[in-house]
Every structure is written in C-alpha cells, then in structure tokens.
Amino acid sequence: MTDTTHWSDRLSEYLDGDLSPAEWNACTAHLETCPSCRDTLGALAEVRNAVAGLPGIAPPESLWTGIAEQLGASPLTGARQDGPRRMTVSLRSLAAAAVLVAVASGSLVWFALRTASPGASFPADDAPTPVLALAALDASMDPIIADLEQLLRERTTSLDPAVLQSIETDLRAIDQSLANIRSALAEDPSNGPLNRQLARTLRAKVDRLRDAALQPTGRGAA
C-alpha cells in the first residue's frame, strides 16, 4: 500500500480532526508532498460545507392540519410549571469572557515558548505549571460559556433565522473540535500545539457566542 493509498482513505478523518496527533502529523507531512491528496482534501471540505449548508424544505401546507388532529389525543408528559430562566448575562460577562480567553491565550503562548526553549521566563515566579493552569482556565470558562449559551437561547427568536442557523452550525463545529482536542490532550497533556489549539478554539467559541449576543435583532449579517 502506497502512502497515498493509505492516507487518501482517511482524509475525511483528517478534515474532521478525528486522527490521533501522531496520525495527524504524518498525514500533514504527506499532504505537503502529494497534490492529489491536497485536491481531494479540498473537495471533501467543499462537500462537507455544502451538505452542512443544505436548507430546510418547506412541507405541504396540509401537514399542520394532520398534526393538530393528533394533538388532541396525545397527552402531555410532565407539563412544566416553572418559567424560563432569567437572563442574567450582561455585557460585563461578555467582557469578562473576553479577558479570560485573552489570559488563557497569553498563558499558552508562554507555555509554547517554554516548551520550545526551556529558559523562557514568565512574569509571575509562583505561577502554576502550564498544564494545571490550562486545566484551571479551561474549567473556569464553563460557567461563562454556559451563560453566553443561555443568552443565545434567549435570543433565538429575535435573531434572523439565517443568522441563527449560521451561528448554530459554527458552534456545533467548534464543540466537535473541542471534544477532539480534549480527547487528544487527555493522552498527551503537554502537547504544545494541541494546547495552543485548545486556547484558540475556546476563544473561537467565546467570540462566536459574543458575536451572537451582540447581533442586532431582525435581519443582519452573521
């Protein structure tokens, strides 16, 4: 089996971030020397984006009538008594999220430098180890991201449907990437490129949620 044959069948996994770090590095090295695989990878990305962007399909107008007839015979399960959660996120939370991600990115830049050149200095002498610092920062992002997600849920009906769809698609892709990166880091916590990627992806998520929160109501650009 040639190198091309081996990797050509796994380019979708490469595109989706499903390869192990070692496989990813090997595939990347192969792509640098194989124009055929590069073309295939580009085509796969186009297909993925085109499929992900498939629009909804308007059903027959009579569809609701059939549903309404069945609702009368269908009991509700566990009807809720509580109201929706209050929106507690403010612009201050959005600013706090941005600062936190900036700090995370800064710490990881130091970590990357330290990994590359152990003599690199860090401003705080008593700073925690990079891995622990990253884990702490990653965990501290959870409540902020949760608040931003709640803010987005509160705004789903005031946003342009096309904008909302774009936001949801982006966030799904980001969450998938985060899951892949965290899984890889669990096996190799000190991997510099992966840690940098985690910081970038967290920043991407916060930025996307923040952009969604600041979107004007009604039609607007995504």
Binding site: I57, P59, L63, A68, L76
Partner: protein, 197 residues
C-alpha cells in the same frame, strides 16, 4: 492546516414559513406555553422548525414518507415537551426527537427502502426536493442516490452534527464503519459539486 479541521459552513436560504400569532415571542416562552397545553404556541414552534425537520425526513426516508415521519416527530415532541429542560437549544432537542422517531420507525415499519445505488446512471429527478434550484439539484440527487448506510451517516454527521461514536450507537455500527461510510459518501458527492461552480 488547523488540526481540528474547523470549518465554517454557510447556511443560505434556510426556508422558514411565516410566523404565526406568536412570531415575536422568545422561544423559551413559547416552549413553556406549549408545555402547558397551548397549541397556538406549539404551532408557532412548529412553523419555526418544520422546514429543517421535514428536510431531514425528506432526505432520510424519501419524499413518499417524509410527511408522515414529520407528523410523527411533532406529535412525539408535543407529548414529550414537558421533559425539555432547556439544557440545549429547543431545535437541538427537537432534532434528537426526530432522529429517535426515524430510527424507531425503521425498526417497526418492516419496509425495505429501495434506493438507487451510486452506480445508477439514470437518477430519478423526483428524488430531489421540489423547487430545488438547478445549482443545488445535483447535490440533492447525489444524496438521494447514495447507498442507504452512507446517506444516513452523512446526514447524521454533516447535517445533524453527531460524532461517530454517537452515530455508531444510533445505527448499531462501529465508529470506524461510520467514518468509512462518511468518507465514501463525501467522495461520491464530489462529482455533484463540480457542476455547481
């Protein structure tokens, strides 16, 4: 190249029907009202999400059964609305309901869906949704022509956003099989996009 392969998909013209009387209400409030038995609120939720649900059903089970499946999805959603806790977006929850309905129906229906193989040269144009623009027709027909297993994985992964481990659990296949099916589907659709540029 970003290791995670992060790519942003554009989502043009997601068809939406005109909102009903609850068109300006936040979705969380509509869900609460609908969960309390308010059918007008549920109808508004239906109108906001039906295009995507019907599109999923259309591409999964075909045009003949899509309407019936979509009806079943919304009836099931009405029955289970009280269990929605807001841990995810309502649309996300609704799509999970749709997947469970579709997969459950396939086990009880006992029908063998006859799909065109990828080698079929004479694709049935009616397999594409009505009013599909010409520039997207080839992609829709290509999806309709995929082998069933590959099409299901493609829809679950690239449209619905499920991971291969989740897809494997849903479809009773290994994550490795899911990955190879997805790759096979994407490679088969390459030619469809070449005519779209």
């Amino acid at each position: 190249m970003n290791r995670a392969g992060l790519a942003v998909a554009t989502t043009p013209d997601r068809g939406r029907t005109a909102p009903g009387s609850g068109g300006d209400l936040p979705e969380a409030r509509l869900v609460t009202q609908a969960a309390s038995g308010n059918r007008e609120a549920f109808e508004e939720l239906y109108r906001r999400h039906v295009d995507r649900i019907y599109g999923l059903a259309f591409r999964w089970v075909g045009p003949e059964e899509a309407a019936e499946v979509t009806q079943d999805v919304f009836v099931r959603a009405w029955e289970k609305l009280g269990t929605f806790r807001g841990d995810s977006a309502f649309g996300t929850w609704l799509h999970r309901v749709a997947i469970r309905v579709i997969l459950g129906q396939r086990k009880t229906m006992g029908k063998a869906r006859q799909r065109f193989s990828a080698d079929e040269a004479d694709l049935d144009r009616s397999s594409a949704p009505p009013d599909t623009p010409d520039h997207r027709m080839d992609l829709e027909r290509g999806i309709a022509a995929l082998p069933e297993g590959a099409r299901r994985v493609l829809l679950l992964h690239d449209v619905e956003g499920y991971r291969h481990e989740e897809i494997g659990t849903m479809l009773g296949i290994s994550p490795g099989t899911s990955k190879s099916q997805l790759h096979r589907a994407r490679m088969a659709l390459r030619a469809c996009l070449e005519g779209m540029t």
